[in-house]
Amino acid sequence: MKIHEYQAKEFFRKYNIPTPKEKLITNLDEVDLALSELNFPIVAKAQVLVGGRGKAGGVQFCQTPEELKEAVKRILSMTIKNLAVKKLLLAEAVKYEKEFYLGITIDRERRAPVLIASAAGGMDIEEIALRHPEQIVITELSPFLRLKSYKAREVGNVLFSDKELVNKFIEIAAKLTNIFFDYECNLVEINPLVLADRELVAVDAKIVFDDNGLYRHPELEALRDLDAEEKSELLAKQADLSYVKLTGHVGCIVNGAGLAMATMDLIKKYGAEPANFLDIGGSSSPQKMREAMRIILMDKNVRGILVNIFGGITRCDDVAQGLLWALKEEEIKVPIVARLTGTNELEARMLLENSPIVFARTMTEGVKKIVELTRS
């Protein structure tokens, strides 16, 4: 789960990581109150859960109240990558000498947490990582020992020549590491961490929690931005389905994430575009299938639905039951192709015999049929 910059900054403040003076606003009327606490120049930053807000014009540097109000009005009316900007962070601009990068994440290759730092911080850190890996310092952490100060010092000595700054860096790195472990994060990141007036300040902040760890930190649920998630995706989550809305026309319901992705790939291979990713998961129940149908049918782009099931734990007759249920309760105008293989395959076929559902014996056949049926 991602959280907004302003929310991540609250964690930073709780852990005493230096941040600029900031105020969150949600409309133009709140600017005056914010100005009573902040000094110019001020940066107005759109709070959206996608990258690239800077390039989209969602960040603006302002010298005067007029300029700021203009910017606030403009940004609050923006939509960045399909997300409407509803909150804005006003921050006192930090006049800095240099930008650094500091992040902690999980390295799948090392199978360990790693601290990553660079003296080349800022917007293009990914580019730097690709083109100049020598400018990135990576050190492995023990999940039992967290960040030992000598490891932070080894990194700090690469970034800074000034011993005092190295000590400040070590402190910030230790605090950031504690956030990472205390809340079971996938990522905590400061980019840029700036050097301003002999102090290190976290100008931006990013935290991504491990979804699997969230149940152990119930207080984090309050930080979820429900506006930023597709309504259908939220519904799916409540129904314990894994669903991602996409922009194509072929809806698909599959069991298993790998098979679901392979099904989408095959739809594309045969000339159409998937309308979604939907994994009904391992366990089997007609209810889940019923919910999956409801969610897919909410998408008005969908011109047909492919059901691709390789039954193992999932029983094909449960899937068929769910389909019949949906057929009964919803007015379904789009064609449905079903490929049901594995556990209780015959029972499923018998159940669906007199339904309008088109059968396919194999995955490829199913994909070909649904692509054919949804061709505009």
Partner: protein, 289 residues
């Protein structure tokens, strides 16, 4: 031969009295897997499908000479179940449970260093050595005794592709689901090595997906050490960047881990990549013609 499991494998089911645990115990018994014991804390002394239930893994191991376990314990208790199996010095532990917090797995892989146990998973579909033993949830209908080794990060996609291998008449030596999570106990390279050393395996099929760089590292390893023919399938070519696709592992981040990159790396290692599950039959025919 096969790898990891065979007729001699003696299995403990951890969480045997739960919904999934009891169902799959029956399934494994039907497949003639030697399920010698079950473990459910507090239910020791009972019996289920003729399998004795113990309170702890150590007690189960001492009583039955088990050398492997499969874990169906709910996610909140699964990490402890893994530690318990490691401490009981089982050779093989297959964790089916999904949803284990990644920070727990970081601790577990750190704890595993220098220990005798091989951990498969978590979030694994398990292992099947067709005709010999099944320690997992894979549906037997998809598999047939044979000469192709299959290693995969996915579940149902593995059944799909294996069923085509089986239908084409080649069958599988062993099929290993290593699990779809970002941090797992055993990776592609570990399995490739075992397959290369297994005389019964004549070709290897690797089933990967987007996210991470396990496939890229496997490619380098194949180039250097694997002499047997390798075929690969990568799911997620159409997945948009930065959208989660069900598996925690399947996140594309920072341009790395895309299907395109993985396919490029595999091709560079001489691996034939196929794009449609049913193609595998034809490709194997070419190899074994």
């Amino acid at each position: 031969m096969a790898i990891l499991i065979n007729q001699e494998t003696r299995v403990i089911v951890q969480g045997i009295t739960g919904r999934d645990g009891s169902f799959h115990t029956q399934e494994m018994l039907k497949y003639n897997t030697k399920v010698v014991a079950g473990v459910t804390p507090g239910k020791g002394g009972s019996e289920i499908f003729g399998v004795p239930v113990f309170d702890t893994v150590r007690e189960a191991k001492n009583a039955t000479r088990a050398n492997a376990s499969i874990i169906f314990v709910p996610k909140a208790f699964a990490p402890d179940a893994i530690y318990e199996a490691i401490d009981a010095e089982l050779e093989l532990v297959v964790c089916i449970t999904e949803g284990i917090p990644v920070h727990e797995m970081l601790k577990i892989v750190s704890y595993l260093k220098g220990k005798k146990t091989r951990l498969i998973g978590p979030n694994s579909a398990g292992i099947i050595s067709p005709g010999k033993s099944k320690v997992g949830i894979l549906p037997p209908v998809a598999f047939k005794e044979g000469k192709v080794g299959v290693v995969s990060r996915s579940g149902t996609l593995t059944y799909e592709i294996s069923s085509h291998i089986s239908q084409a008449g080649f069958g599988e030596s062993t099929v290993v689901g290593i699990g779809g999570d970002p941090i797992v106990g055993t990776n592609f390279i570990d399995c490739l090595k075992m397959f290369e050393d297994d005389p019964e395996t004549e070709a290897i099929v690797l089933i990967g997906e987007i996210g991470g760089n396990d496939e890229e590292r496997a490619s380098e390893y194949i180039k250097k050490y694997i002499k047997k023919p390798v075929l690969a399938f990568i799911a997620g070519q159409t997945a948009p960047p930065d959208k989660r696709m069900g598996h925690a592992g399947a996140i594309i981040s920072g341009g790395k881990g895309t299907a395109q990159e993985k396919i490029k790396a595999l091709n560079a290692a001489g691996v034939r990549v196929f794009f449609e599950p049913e193609e595998i039959g034809r490709l194997l025919c070419e190899i074994f013609k």
